[in-house]
Structure formats: structure tokens, C-alpha cells
């Protein structure tokens, strides 16, 4: 007979084993990509997990990195995603601070407008017309603003809930000390919002980095393409050369997986914060 403690331990080991076996469903597709990125064109044609007949090679990476387009697209993605995060966090936090504190009808209308953006998809065709009218089409800045607009609804939702937990006494004592709203917000309130800012910034960064639709409509010059668009382009051009396609995919996945691993806790915190309330 096993004791309770032994039984529990056995079950825990069993759970871990089953869990890892099932996780192969997630891991194997990635393994296929990584393995084949180190195979010659002949070997990678099969896209399997077999040992390469021609040996492991780095030539796919050398070739796709040649010409610097991938590196350039990496910096494009970095610029656009970071710019979007910066703009989106600052403007949304500012707006939600006032909206949450004022609670007037007009402010509630603005809040619901932001909220509708969580549901309705954007119309890229007409958004592009607006950018053209502002002479911002095809520019980094225009793209950053578009992404910021897409990120505002989620950020607004998160900031609205969090700002409600900050006591108004903090505002009052600062006001008595003679600060104006800009000083109050940027020196006192914004630093207090750090936990939610980190979460929202991470999620916004990931969705901007991964987005495929906006640059497809908005960025026509290939010199400004993001990594995802670059991969799509390579995929069209190098139809049968899976080795090289895999190398491009691996290079595209590395930056975002680093962000994912480093920020995993915050991502999960953000994704679940809405869940409890429903």
C-alpha cells in the first residue's frame, strides 16, 4: 500500500510526464523549423526531423542575412512597435486619468467609444485615405499612429480599471502643494501606473510586432517593411527553398520569443485581469 504522500508524489510525476508528452504538439512544429533551417535545400525539401544527409549547414542564414534586408526589417519592426507603445501608453494613460476622475457624461461617451474598438475591426482602406490626407501615408510616423489607435481600446480598458484603485487623496495633496495637472500626472500618477503600464506595453508591443494586416495596407515601400512582412515576401519568392524560409522564420521568432520569455509573467497577468471580472 502506498501512503497518501507517496500517492500524491506519484501522481505529480505522472502529471509532469503526461504534460511534457502532450506539449510535443506545440514543440514539434517549432523543432521542424529550427532543424530545417540548418539543412541544405535538398535535405530541407522534405521538412522532416531526420538527420541531414548533407550535414548541418549555416548557409541558409548566411544567404538570407546577406544584403541586410532582414536586419533592416528588424529595426523597422523595433522602431514601429516601440514608437506605437510609447505613444499609446502616454496618451491613453493621460486620457484615462482625466476620464476616470471626472466621470462626466461627455467623458463616459469617450470611454465607450474607446471600448467599442475592442470589438469592431478597423477599416484599413479608409484609414489609409486619412493618412494620405495628412501626408503621412507610407511613413513610419503614420504607421506608428495607426498602431497606437489600434492599441488604445485595450490600454484604455486596463488603465481605467487600474486608475480607479489609486486614491484621489494623492491628487489632492499634490494640488494643495501647488502642482498643475501635467506635473501631477507625469511626476506622481504615471509612475504609480507602472505595473499596468508594463503589462499593457508588453502586449501592445507583441501585437504591433506580429501584425501583418496594417503594414500590408499601409507600407508600400519595401525599405520600411517590418519583419513579418519581410518573411511573407521571402515566402512568396523562395517557394521551394524551405531551408532559407526556415532560417528567415527563426530569425523573426528570436526577438519576439526573447520578449515573451522575459515578460511572460506580465503577459499572463494582463491577459487574465479581465477574465476574473468577465
Amino acid at each position: 500500500m502506498l501512503t497518501m504522500a507517496q500517492k500524491r508524489k506519484r501522481n505529480a510525476i505522472l502529471s509532469a510526464v503526461i504534460g511534457w508528452i502532450l506539449s510535443l504538439i506545440i514543440l514539434v512544429p517549432f523543432a521542424v523549423i529550427v532543424v530545417n533551417s540548418f539543412k541544405t535545400t535538398r535535405d530541407s525539401a522534405m521538412m522532416n526531423l531526420e538527420w541531414p544527409r548533407d550535414g548541418w549547414v549555416l548557409s541558409n542564414y548566411a544567404e538570407v542575412l546577406d544584403g541586410g534586408q532582414i536586419v533592416r526589417s528588424f529595426f523597422n519592426s523595433l522602431l514601429i512597435a516601440s514608437g506605437c507603445v510609447l505613444v499609446c501608453m502616454v496618451v491613453t494613460a493621460m486620457a484615462m486619468f482625466v476620464i476616470r476622475r471626472r466621470k462626466s457624461k461627455l467623458h463616459r461617451v469617450i470611454f465607450y467609444m474607446f471600448f467599442a474598438g475592442l470589438i469592431a475591426p478597423v477599416n484599413y482602406i479608409t484609414a489609409l485615405q486619412i493618412l494620405k490626407a495628412l501626408h503621412l501615408n507610407g511613413t513610419y510616423f503614420g504607421t506608428i499612429l495607426t498602431y497606437a489607435a489600434l492599441g488604445i481600446p485595450f490600454a484604455a480598458f486596463m488603465y481605467y480599471n487600474f486608475i480607479g484603485t489609486i486614491p484621489t487623496e494623492i491628487d489632492e495633496s499634490a494640488i494643495i502643494d501647488g502642482t498643475n495637472i501635467s506635473q501631477l500626472f507625469f511626476q506622481v500618477i504615471f509612475p504609480l501606473l507602472k505595473p499596468v503600464t508594463v503589462t499593457v506595453a508588453t502586449l501592445t508591443f507583441i501585437s504591433a510586432w506580429n501584425d501583418f494586416v496594417s503594414p500590408l495596407y499601409l507600407l508600400n515601400s519595401s525599405s520600411k517593411w517590418t519583419m513579418v512582412l519581410m518573411v511573407y515576401n521571402y515566402w512568396g519568392v523562395m517557394q521551394q527553398e524551405w531551408g532559407k524560409i526556415c532560417a528567415v522564420i527563426v530569425l523573426t521568432l528570436i526577438p519576439i520569443l526573447i520578449v515573451y520569455i522575459a515578460m511572460q509573467k506580465h503577459i499572463i497577468a494582463g491577459m487574465t485581469s479581465g477574465a476574473v471580472k468577465g
Partner: protein
């Protein structure tokens, strides 16, 4: 009076302007343009009433099929994600080693672009891909298929990939709900002789309701907007068998039929709004 002086309205302006210009106005203009013949061929834009919408609902065109595909995709993918996500969450809601690392693995596809996931799976699902290789290795040669070019399997394959991507997200949301449950409830129930089924029915389920609502809504919204994964996996093919509304928005835009493209885009906005609100009304827990 006092509030107005401290919390200045101009503070809401930067966010409002960006959002209004690049989100609200495009949607409103889109509705307007959807009633015109705006296209790449002529510089003249004429009002045509509901003609573009009649075009969408004309059974001679493939748009109705795309609407049906979008709905089928949304329903099956949502159910699949919720069932698998819930099963995983129940599995993870206990203590064992390497749990956090494992959870990170299941959630990982969430951080990756749908487009890239679609590309990866074109190779996995290819006739000589690793899925068929695996099936052959375990003697299931009979069910190997060219998953993405076979008309009867292709939509199912796209749905399966979507489920693969999002089970981690559903799992994490369910786990948050499960972890709110005090372990003492279960202990008390065990003392009263409640079996596992009864414990699930009377303790776990009520606590899960809010996270089910969240997952259903998120999955529906996400499903109706589907685009990237279809573009990468099938590009709408073979024929138009996996065409969805968003791929037709892009396709008609590419053909220069901007009025029609806007009508499709407007249609999907209205459809998403209506379905999401209806779902919210139907399944959201009633306020006590």
C-alpha cells in the same frame, strides 16, 4: 467646478484625436464609401445605394460562401479552443514540477504572428509533411491526406491550426478563474461525501462562468476577424473553399473595387458588433 479646474479636458485630447482620426472616422467613411461605386478605374465616385451589399448577397458570387466560412470557422474554432483550453487548465490546476515552464510552452504560440504560424503549418500539413509522416509511422496510412489542397479537409485544417495557436490563451484565462477557488470548498465537499462530478458541478463550474464568458467573447471577436492564418495557409483556396470575409476585403481592395471592399468591411464590423453584443447578453452572468 473643482474637478474641472484640476482634471483638464485637454488631457484626453491626444488619445481622442489619434483614435477618432484613425479608427472612428475610417469606420464612418467606410460606411459612406460602401454606398458608392468608388474604384480604381474611374476618378468619379458615384452614389449607388445598396448595390454593393446586393453584390455581397448575390448567390452567384462567392461572398456568401465567405460569410458562411467565417461563421463556421468562428463557431468550431471557439468551441475547440474552449474545450481544449479548459481541459488543460484543469490539468494545470494542481502542483507538479516544471509546471510553470510547461505552461509557458503551451502559451507560447500566442506570442507569435499568426502569419508565421500559418507558414509553419503549410509545411507540417503538406502531403510529405511531418503530420502525414507521423501517421504513416504509426500505421495510419489510410487517413493521410493533402490536408490543405483537399476541399473536404482544408477548412478543418485551418480551424485546427487556429485552435493550436489559441489553446494556451484560453487555458491561461481559465486558470485565473480556477485559482480564485478556495481549496477549502473542495475539502468541505469531500467531507460531505461529494464525488468528483458533484465537486465540478457545484464548486468549479460556478467559479468558471466569468472566464467562460471572457473566452467566448474573445474567441468570437477574434474568429470573425480572421485573416492572417488563412492568408498564410491557403490564401482562400483551393478555389474559394476557405475564403473568409477579411480575405475578400483585401482581395477586392487589391482589384480596385474600393466601394465593394468597404461594403464588406462595414458588413464585418456590424456583424461582429451584433454577434459580440448578443453573446454578451446571452452568456454573461446576471448581476445578482
Amino acid at each position: 467646478m473643482y474637478k474641472k479646474q484640476i482634471y483638464r479636458s485637454w488631457f484626453t485630447m491626444p488619445a481622442f484625436i489619434i483614435y477618432f482620426l484613425l479608427f472612428i472616422i475610417p469606420v464612418i467613411f467606410g460606411i459612406g464609401y460602401s454606398l458608392t461605386n468608388w474604384n480604381a478605374m474611374s476618378s468619379e465616385i458615384k452614389f449607388v445605394g445598396l448595390r454593393n451589399y446586393l453584390e455581397i448577397f448575390n448567390p452567384d458570387n462567392a461572398y456568401l460562401l465567405a460569410i458562411k466560412n467565417t461563421l463556421v470557422f468562428t463557431v468550431y474554432a471557439s468551441v475547440g479552443k474552449i474545450v481544449v483550453g479548459l481541459a488543460l487548465a484543469l490539468f494545470f490546476n494542481r502542483k507538479f514540477r516544471t509546471q510553470n515552464l510547461m505552461r509557458g510552452v503551451y502559451f507560447m504560440p500566442y506570442a507569435i504572428s499568426s502569419l508565421i504560424i500559418g507558414m509553419i503549418f503549410t509545411s507540417i500539413l503538406a502531403p510529405d509533411g511531418i503530420l502525414n509522416e507521423g501517421l504513416r509511422a504509426i500505421g495510419l496510412d489510410a487517413i493521410t491526406k493533402s490536408w490543405l489542397t483537399n476541399r473536404s479537409t482544408v477548412l478543418g485544417a485551418v480551424i485546427a491550426v487556429e485552435i493550436w495557436k489559441s489553446i494556451g490563451l484560453n487555458m491561461v484565462i481559465f486558470l485565473a478563474g480556477l485559482q480564485m477557488i478556495d481549496k477549502e470548498y473542495y475539502e468541505a465537499a469531500q467531507l460531505d461525501g461529494a464525488n468528483a462530478m458533484a465537486q465540478f458541478r457545484y464548486i468549479t463550474w460556478p467559479f468558471l462562468r466569468p472566464s467562460i464568458t471572457t473566452n467566448v467573447i474573445l474567441n468570437i471577436i477574434h474568429g470573425l476577424k480572421v485573416f492572417d492564418i488563412v492568408m498564410a495557409l491557403t490564401n482562400g483556396g483551393p478555389g474559394n473553399t476557405t475564403q473568409v470575409i477579411s480575405t475578400f476585403v483585401f482581395k477586392t481592395y487589391g482589384m480596385g473595387a474600393y466601394g465593394l471592399s468597404n461594403a464588406l468591411s462595414t458588413f464585418i464590423s456590424i456583424l461582429t458588433m451584433l454577434i459580440a453584443l448578443a453573446a454578451l447578453k446571452l452568456i454573461a452572468p446576471k448581476e445578482a
